[in-house]
Amino acid sequence: MSNVLEIDGLKMHIRQSRVTVKAVDGVSLSIAPGETLGLVGESGCGKSMTGMSIMKLLPNGGHIIEGSINLNGRDVVPLSEKQMRRIRGQEVAVIFQDPMTSLNPTMNIGNQLGETLRIHREASDDEARERAVEVLELVGMPRPRERLHDFPHQLSGGLRQRVMIAMSLVCSPSLLIADEPTTALDVTIQAQILDLLDSLRRELHMAVLLITHDMGVIAGRADRVAVMYAGKIAEQAETSTLFKRMRHRYTEALVEAIPRLDQETTAELYSIPGLPPDLAFPPKACRFAARCRFDTDICHQVEPPLLEHEPDHLYACHHPAGVGASQSDPLVAV
């Protein structure tokens, strides 16, 4: 089965007045239909910028300078803004962290949902309304027909996020980008929204790019995981492999730094020293070396390539965890 999304060697740099921020610096990813790929990392690691590059909604000064983004077999990088407008919503849709700022406060729910259809499918008002009710039902909105006349401020955070998801589904996209979809919500509501995304993905056979900082959310919801650090992918594997045999020292440190509910924490939490690097001047070699417990000279001199060291398990680390002094031979260069 061919992949819905295939990103190859994507570089998206943001030109600012004095410097160029290398926000996404050589990222390759793919997602199959019905699959959830988790993209995890801290603020500023480039995970959201990777998502926005797929939509080609870039910040001021942002340019894709290298690489390709194949969406359903077509590279969107060379497409014009006019052509992109047809693709957004139809083939790929996005939901953001804060539904209040992404919904139009002056438009009722019915019109916001219908707008997408009227633009993309040239639907009549009646058709648009019926489809709006249909998608609101799909996302578990109580009494959907009455809600059409509600404005965003009349809804709770959880219901607003359901409306956002409904909006993204109106034109049945093949790829849904969920950028921190539950970060602004309470854990109880988070569980409801993540359940909803899971069931929609299964029913509609959508590909989902789940962007989050929360390793717990990843553990429960992603089929595969890509860990990003400072504009690059540090490690990528199937979810259970990643958590059982994490190799990159950044992944390892990140998981060790999280207090866990199910474990007694008597010892001090591991804390990663320092700060992520400035992406206007990223380190030449390993980008995590300056904060790493296991760094040696080579880490500061040679950039570790992202290689498939084990089947379906890629990582870019000179001193991977759980691999003895003799490194396993890379199978395939990526």
Binding site: T188, I218, L254, L261
Partner: protein, 348 residues
């Protein structure tokens, strides 16, 4: 002060030690007004409705719950940023709820607050030295050189270079700003720090730096902490005991391990099960009992047990009678008519 005066009063502090912080049947109501000029009162938000708990000196209590459960309001009342509608808050034996603002201001040396958003809680036009000197200047402590010496000590305590003194907040990262916030809270040698979501705005890799720093300073200065967070994992790491709040009520309070392993209240159980654990084997096979629906309005809270509208175990009784806090083990209280475990018979 030694006799329990209200039915919701928890039993005396464990080990017979006199609690450092004793919150008794505290109520906070905010009027809902309509109109800009006449401000007609059209209702009341019941933010906190009769909450009692105690914290021993040097102990950490965590308060958890969903948005709107009253945890932040409770924390703000403890440092007198919000005055109680009724009830008492004893800090070191003195009831701050009955104090004049003048006396409260002096008492504030003992209790300080650390805020969630290090970007919003530091004045962008002040240098770090001014921010940290301000509490000392307000309380009239020391001469200027003495105050600056204290600022150097504080920066050292929170792991910032002394050269930070002449810099402005925007020159620091989120984690460093939270260190400045902690230094400011420490400036007056307080005994109690209320930390409201101290790490929620920070990245995972920075979070543990701040949490470990808070723990080290607690040991160094014998601080008592009340840590408020929606993140039960963070609270469990930090706290000796955890109080779970729901819609203005304390529904369960127990030791951290106890609350996670043996919750008595269905809400606690639901909250615990909703928290994602970074382990796919556990996360994918655990039983999800996350409460359905959303937290009701605090203007018209449900009668009887406030959780009953979302509770899988609710019965007609829950709508009629408010459940009292009952003991479920040593130092473990919960307010539920149909708890997940049997309560222990109240000891004499």
């Amino acid at each position: 002060m030694t006799e329990a005066s209200s039915p919701e009063e928890p039993p005396a502090a464990p080990n017979g030690a006199k609690p450092f912080l004793d919150v008794r049947n505290v109520v906070k109501e905010f009027p809902v007004t309509h109109g800009a000029v006449l401000q007609r009162r059209v209702g009341v938000v019941h933010a906190v409705s009769g909450v009692s708990f105690t914290v021993k000196s040097g102990e950490t209590l965590g308060l958890v719950g969903e948005s709107g459960c009253g945890k932040t309001t409770t924390g703000r009342m403890i440092v007198a940023l919000e005055r109680v509608t009724s009830g008492s808050i004893f800090i070191d034996g003195e009831d701050i709820a009955r104090m004049s603002m003048r006396r409260v201001r002096r008492k504030r040396r003992d209790m300080q607050m650390m805020f969630q958003d290090p970007y919003a809680s530091l004045d962008p036009r002040m240098r770090v030295v001014t921010i940290l000197r301000e509490p000392l200047a307000i309380q009239g402590i020391g001469t200027r050189p003495e105050q600056e010496e204290r600022v150097r000590d504080l920066l050292n305590d929170v792991g910032l270079a002394t050269s930070s003194m002449d810099r402005y907040p925007h020159e620091f990262s989120g984690g460093q700003r939270q260190r400045i916030g902690l230094a400011r809270a420490l400036a007056l040698h307080p005994k109690l720090i209320v930390a409201d979501e101290p790490v929620s705005a920070l990245d995972v890799s920075i979070r543990s730096q701040i949490l470990n720093l808070m723990n080290r300073l607690q040991t160094k200065y014998g601080l008592t902490y009340v840590i408020i967070s929606h993140d039960l994992s963070v609270v469990k790491y930090m706290a000796d005991r955890i109080g779970v709040m729901y819609l203005g009520k304390l529904v369960e309070i127990a030791g951290g391990e106890d609350i996670y392993a043996r919750p008595a209240h269905p809400y606690t159980n639901g909250l615990v099960s909703a928290i994602p654990i970074p382990d796919p084997d556990i996360e994918r096979h655990k039983q999800m009992d996350a409460p359905k629906g959303e937290i009701p309005s605090a203007i018209n809270p449900p009668s009887g047990c406030r959780f009953r509208t979302r509770c899988p175990r609710a019965q007609p009784l829950c709508g009629q009678v408010e459940p009292p806090l009952r003991a479920f083990g040593p130092d473990h209280l919960a307010a539920c008519h149909f708890p997940l475990r049997d309560p222990v018979e109240a000891a004499a």
